[in-house]
Assembly symmetry: C2
Homo-oligomer: 201 residues x 2
């Protein structure tokens, strides 16, 4: 019997996944939480074999929660589940100690198989996504460039960003310019969009 912890912020998806997994005779959902912060306490309490963690969650996000869980309870095998197959997510998930990575486009059979493989000690990664991840490479952005891009992605102006990060406007423009060059974009808004789809933010 494989004991599973579910973490997903959408109650409907959480409930539906639980129903799906509980149909399998050798799987058992023993806990399900809605936030990243709740993952570690729940895991320590129910001692699951496998944790299925969504990336998008309020509070601590799925990748950070995975890292915390890996530190707190390395016996639990972590599978990251996500809507968006962003290359950067895969890299960060692996760095966080995850051993599986499944996108929500996958079939239910694939997910169940992935859980079983992971439980038996294997790693499970979508080969197409892995290739894409290698192609996109690691994030070329510096910490500051990331900061200004996340702000720009919210629609902030250069002045807003400068105030928010306590920088001069010229410096913000420089960081943005560097990010534009590195992403191959032609405008800060486009750079923010590209960085986001690559999972660099």
């Amino acid at each position: 019997m494989i004991r599973i912890l579910l973490a997903d912020d959408q109650a409907l998806v959480r409930g539906a996944l639980a129903a799906l997994l509980d149909l399998e005779p050798d799987l058992e959902v023993v806990a399900s939480v809605a936030t990243g912060d709740a993952v570690v306490p729940a895991a320590l309490s129910v001692r699951p074999d496998v944790a299925l963690i969504d990336v998008q969650m309020p509070g601590l996000d799925g990748l950070a929660a995975a890292a915390a869980l890996h530190r707190a309870r390395p016996e639990t095998r972590i599978v990251i589940l996500t809507t968006f197959g962003r290359p950067g997510y895969l890299a960060r998930a692996m760095a966080a100690g995850a051993v599986g990575f499944v996108v929500k486009d996958a079939t239910p059979e694939y997910l169940i198989d992935a859980i079983q493989r992971v439980h038996s000690g294997l790693r499970v990664v979508d080969p197409g996504l892995a290739a894409e991840s290698l192609a996109a490479g690691a994030s070329p952005l510096t910490a500051r460039e990331r900061d200004v891009l996340v702000a720009a992605a919210q629609g902030a102006t250069v002045r807003d960003i400068a105030r928010g990060l306590h920088l001069s406007e010229g410096t913000v423009r420089n960081h943005l310019s560097a990010a534009i060059g590195k992403t191959g974009a032609r405008t800060s808004a486009e750079a923010a969009r590209l960085a986001e789809t690559n999972g660099w933010l």
Copy 2:
């Protein structure tokens, strides 16, 4: 026995929802499709009582698919299911002939209850979202303003938009300026973001 058609582009969610609904003794998933274009043919073939349609789908989107289904087979009661509770979505869903609107944050019980209510002739709308929808009101954007905003949301420059829509740059700037005024934004990127979260694109 309530016969249900499921439409969602994510195979995992589709399968999980089917598992969840099939657990109910009076519900039966009789078809599940991954694209908006497949909704009407499937409905004509299996004659479902209720159609559960996600907004985000490739090809024909969920709202357009709902409208087509309502025309082709008005007996089928339509429930729109969506990740994002955007006010504009609700308005368009109702205009498309939907009688239910459920966000993926809802609990499984709520969804099941909604399906049963809808089948018995009632309408089901999240009251909080309905209030938000009234507050945000209908889209204030003209058709052209919408066009330039969707292009701007991709990160296109004024020149790109002008070329893409065969307009002069000045005209594009005028439309953008009008959209910025109507959305209360201060920049075209921000206007695009706001319009998107309101479901006006």
